[in-house]
């Protein structure tokens, strides 16, 4: 028997003994009971010495003869008066507590009243907090966007990534015909990790999986789980998986998975409990889906090297698909896909352009064609109203995109050089300016700053141009270039 058991037994024994003792000590001696008529007779005969009210209609009485007895009945007010005249008052017997005891009797009532008041106060406060805290509850909602109907994207809309597509066909098949997978006893793919550089088509592929399978599609970015408050991210994950479970079958696409899926316990000197909680919740939620539920999670990252190993273990993101940079043949496919609906000049050879665009990503190629289409629209006047994409549009678009990354474009440099030349005062700077709409203007620069140009043509007319109209400025090399 250990110490705590002994103590327990001791306390029990003490309590029971205390009970027996108190009971024994207070055991009331039973007073002989007499009919109420005896009491009335005693009052009449002035034989009563004292009268004590016990409870309800019970009284204890003593007579001048020293007799003690109990009786039950009701004292009339006349009898009370008679007794009072003789100096006999009803004894309420507060015992040791005396007057204090009567106050004590009020305590239960006071406590109940206080409890009501406190309860109401608490309720009002709670309500206030709740109204103020509405935003906090809202925060816990996942911000994932549910694409209402299954997306219209198909694998045919995705150029290249043949290997990934082949693997994802399995997933589509599982979403469509889970019973076949169940029959084979095969564990269905639960999480697919798409790795690839930005713009290589990870989102498109995920969307195509949902589109091919004809299921709901949830898009969420990993960074949307990252929040200042601990627990919010995890709550959002739970909310997301709950929502997906409700509309299953579904595909959940988590973009930028590395924002939360970073290796736990890493990070220099910082301990990010919030992110770890969020990650743990994703792991638990992915484990929590029953195979019948048909929810597939597709994660995308371009930093798979920093992902937590637990995220990649079997049963989670166990299918890892690398989206390689485009090779020329798939780049051609991608270009053809994006050229759909765009009027190409018959001379344009997309495959040649694809060979030219080594290292480009799908998104880059899409932008190239879009830029070229924009140029084609701007240049339609110069081409007699025909809207079509020509090789020169593509070339200019490619040049524009290539230079986009540079802080200081050649065009800006040309403009700055011109302004500098003009400021020297010789005023005879010739320039040949190609406009974005295909027109070419030649003349003498009379004004140039970072934003506007003014040219005087041979015939003496002047034309003012804004920076955004200008595609290229050709000027003879300045005599003394500024130290740029």
């Amino acid at each position: 028997m250990n110490a705590s058991t002994r103590r327990t037994l001791l306390v029990w024994a003490a309590l029971v003994v205390a009970f027996l003792a108190i009971f024994w000590l207070t055991r009331a001696e039973e007073l002989p009971s007499r009919p109420w008529a005896d009491v009335e007779a005693a009052i009449e005969a002035d034989e009563l010495e004292g009268i004590r009210w016990v409870d309800g209609v019970e009284y204890e009485l003593s007579t001048r003869g020293g007799e003690l007895f109990a009786s039950e009945g009701v004292l009339t007010s006349e009898q009370m008066e008679v007794l009072a005249e003789r100096g006999i008052y009803l004894d309420y017997d507060m015992g040791l507590l005396g007057i204090f005891g009567s106050l004590l009797g009020l305590v239960p009532l006071l406590v109940v009243v206080a409890a009501v008041v406190l309860g109401l106060l608490w309720y009002a406060r709670r309500k206030q907090v709740q109204q103020g805290g509405g935003a906090a509850l809202e925060m816990r909602k996942s911000r994932a966007r549910l694409v209402e109907t299954p997306p219209a994207t198909r694998f045919a809309d995705v150029g290249g990534c043949e290997e990934a597509k082949a693997r994802l066909l399995d997933v589509v098949d599982y979403l469509k015909h889970p019973e076949a997978w169940a029959a084979a006893g095969a564990r269905a793919p639960r999480g697919i990790l798409l790795e690839g550089p930005p713009g290589s088509g990870k989102t498109l592929l995920a969307r195509a999986v949902a589109g091919e399978a004809g299921v709901r599609f949830f898009v969420v970015s990993g960074s949307e789980f990252v929040e200042m408050f601990v627990g919010i991210g995890a709550a959002r994950v739970r909310d997301l998986f709950e929502q997906a479970g409700k509309v299953a079958p579904a595909v959940i696409f988590i973009d930028e998975l590395d924002a939360i899926g970073r290796r736990r316990g890493s990070g220099v000197g910082q301990w990010n409990e919030e992110r770890e909680q969020t990650l743990n919740q994703i792991l638990v939620s992915m484990d929590g889906f029953e195979p019948q539920q048909r929810v597939v999670v597709i994660g995308a990252t371009n930093r798979s090297d920093i992902l937590d190993p637990a995220l990649i273990r079997p049963g989670r993101f166990d299918v890892r698909l690398r989206i390689p940079p485009l090779d020329p043949s798939s780049a051609g496919q991608v270009l053809r896909i994006h050229a759909r609906g765009k009027p190409l000049h018959p001379e344009v050879d997309l495959d040649a352009w694809a060979a030219n665009a080594i290292g480009a990503t799908g998104a880059g190629l899409e932008q190239l064609l879009n830029e070229a289409a924009l140029l084609a629209v701007r240049r339609r006047e110069a081409r007699g109203g025909a809207v079509e994409l020509r090789d020169e549009d593509l070339a200019d678009a490619l040049a524009a995109l290539r230079t986009q990354g540079e802080a200081f474009e050649p065009l800006d440099r040309a403009l700055v050089d011109s302004a500098w030349q003009l400021s020297r005062g010789d005023g005879s700077q010739r320039a040949r300016i190609q406009l974005a709409d295909g027109e070419v203007v030649e003349g003498v620069l009379v004004w140039a700053d970072g934003n506007f140009l003014k040219l005087r043509r041979e015939d003496g007319s002047e034309v003012a141009l804004a920076r955004r109209q200008v595609l290229r400025v050709e000027v003879p090399a300045p005599a003394a270039p500024p130290g740029t």
Binding site: R7, V11, L15, V16, W24, G95, V107, P108, G119
Partner: protein
Amino acid sequence: MDGLLQRLLLLVPLWLSLSVHEWAHAWTANRLGDDTARLMGRMRLDPLVHLDWLGTVLLPLLGVPFGWARPVPVNPLRFKGLSQDTGLLLAAAAGPASNLVLALLAALLYRLLALLPAAPLAEAALALLEIAVPLNLALAAFNLLPVPPLDGGRVVDGLIPYRWREGWAQVQRVGPVLLVLILVGAELGGAGILAGLSGCSNRLIGR
């Protein structure tokens, strides 16, 4: 004087019954995999570990028909092999259930003791059991009221259909107010319930 002494007499079975009640919560939770209460030393029948000075000592002594012991902590995340809802439900239901068992045991013991020839000690023991039976019935009934802070409210938590959860959350919010109203209502006009319970207890002890 009599009132205070009577309340002192009531205190003994009250402490013992509440100890068993709280211990039952802790024991059930422990059986289901949540050893939080056990590790906190609350899985004991010792009244002193469950005692709340206001709720278990002062209020009963003042004759307030209401009280509480220190609640046993339950961590649903630690339940093994069953859902958190079910676990919470079982752990919550264990308290009132233990009071019912206790009432039955006390009644049984009372009947056995009543067979013995009358002796002063036996008389006192009978008095103890005579208080214990209706007390435990009352504890079980009161705690099973489906009002959120009580055990009965937690049982409802586990049983309520998912689509009623939202409404139930509203009830939970006003739970303490409801409880106060019920207490006041019982104080003002609830003699019927008590009479029913004492009738029930009289049958149990064979009167």
